[in-house]
Symmetry: C2
Subunit: 230 residues, 2 copies
DNA sequence: CTGATCAGATTGACATCGTTAACCTGACGG
DNA sequence: CCGTCAGGTTAACGATGTCAATCTGATCAG
């Protein structure tokens, strides 16, 4: 790991960029903390002197940003894999995959989402990942299960899933239920149905008691519908 | 601000603790970045030498933690003020107040929620604020508009609102709608109805098209109900 | 084969950060 | 009036991000 790297041949300086990125990612996952992501540590791990990092990244922020782009790429790939089939179900699959990724890679997720992004504008990799979300939502709008602007709907659903996983990661001491998988499922379904219902609701609401009765009736109706379908 | 502070009398050393906390909070709000929260800057602003901070806080982490406790207190107060009346509406008011606070104090919110908490366990101020959330939810369960474990429901609703505001704060470059107030409103209603619906849903869902039709019918029914009530 | 060139990488240093050890000081109790 | 000790200060250390100056060796013209 700490062996001195042999110098790259002319025109192959880019190779070091990859090795530095790898080293940074490994440091994150192995240490489990972004504090361990030190330029010196990264350089040491890449078998190179500290200032060499500056040959390929403007500063530390640029290095972190590059790591983030990798994570966005991963998320985008995750979405792409989970599309297809019934749009509402596909949306749920994407959300679940997103949540699982976040919980499986908490440090990466934290660096990606909970860090003040210095560079303005949406980076391409992030835009592409978001585009996948929007496409998944658009499909749901086309089958009329969701209504409204796909971008806004996507932001809302993203918020819901992100909120859950980011709290799980950043505030693990709160009384979260044992089964994270079930919690995610809960959140995803809740967000999905919330979005589906919201656009159909009247602006003013009936009192809680009447609302509860109507919700009961709706639930029963849906249950009956499923029973007769199968 | 940078004038040398007169030494505290015996037994009044605690006063400096307050002044340091004030200085830290001011630094956060004025600079708009947590990077500006330097022990040296805090000490300078409190009119005191840098190591004096260590007389009242074990280390920087403890200082930041203390700032966070203040923010939790504020949030708890916010909830307390917004309770009362129809439980479901009160819950909505709390959520909106929470979101507004977060967007009005982005740096504090970021430090509070998006920072790896070193100290394990839920701090008392946080527990109390969360208790308020749970109480607001419990009231909704009692009127039967919500069903299930209040703690889990509260975590879910908190996730939804937190997700929205934390993304707004951390990823401002995404195509958020102009009107933040409307977005918050959207999210809060979406989360509330999602929660209300979720517990009443069958495990399997009908195909998107049928689901859409049933949702339409439910919306119409609710609209009619509101119309006849008024 | 040889010398010049310049991408690729290093050395050494700087300012700033959190943190600690050692020292100072002046308001109070006796 | 004097010693004590809570309430500070000074000076320094190691680690970090960053940069200017320097070295080096693969490559290519002749």
């Amino acid at each position: 790991m700490t062996t001195r790297r042999v110098r790259a041949r002319r025109g192959e300086g880019v190779l070091l960029r990859e090795e530095i990125l790898r080293a940074a990612e490994d440091l994150l996952t192995e240490s489990g903390s972004e504090d361990a992501l030190t330029l010196r540590a990264v350089a040491l791990r890449a078998g190179v002197s500290t200032p060499s990092v500056y040959l390929h990244f403007a500063d530390k922020e640029a290095l972190v940003e590059a790591v983030c782009m990798r994570v966005w790429d991963e998320l985008g790939r995750l979405f792409a894999v989970n599309l297809g089939g019934d749009p509402f179900l596909a949306l749920g699959r994407c959300a679940r995959a997103y949540a699982r990724f976040a919980l499986d890679h908490p440090v990466q997720y934290r660096v990606l989402m909970m860090r003040p992004s210095a560079t303005p504008g949406v980076p391409p990799a992030a835009a592409e990942a978001f585009l996948h979300m929007v496409r998944a939502v658009t499909a749901c709008v086309e089958t009329r299960v969701l209504e409204g602007d796909p971008e806004e709907l996507a932001l809302g659903l993203w918020s819901a899933v992100h909120g859950c996983v980011s709290l799980l990661i950043a505030q693990p001491s709160f009384p979260w239920p044992r089964d994270q998988e079930a919690l995610i499922d809960h959140i995803v379904r809740q967000a999905g149905f919330g979005a589906a219902l919201y656009s159909r609701l009247p602006r003013r609401l009936p009192p809680s008691a009447e609302l509860a009765a109507d919700l009961d009736a709706f639930g029963a109706r849906l249950a009956a519908r499923v029973a007769e379908d199968s």
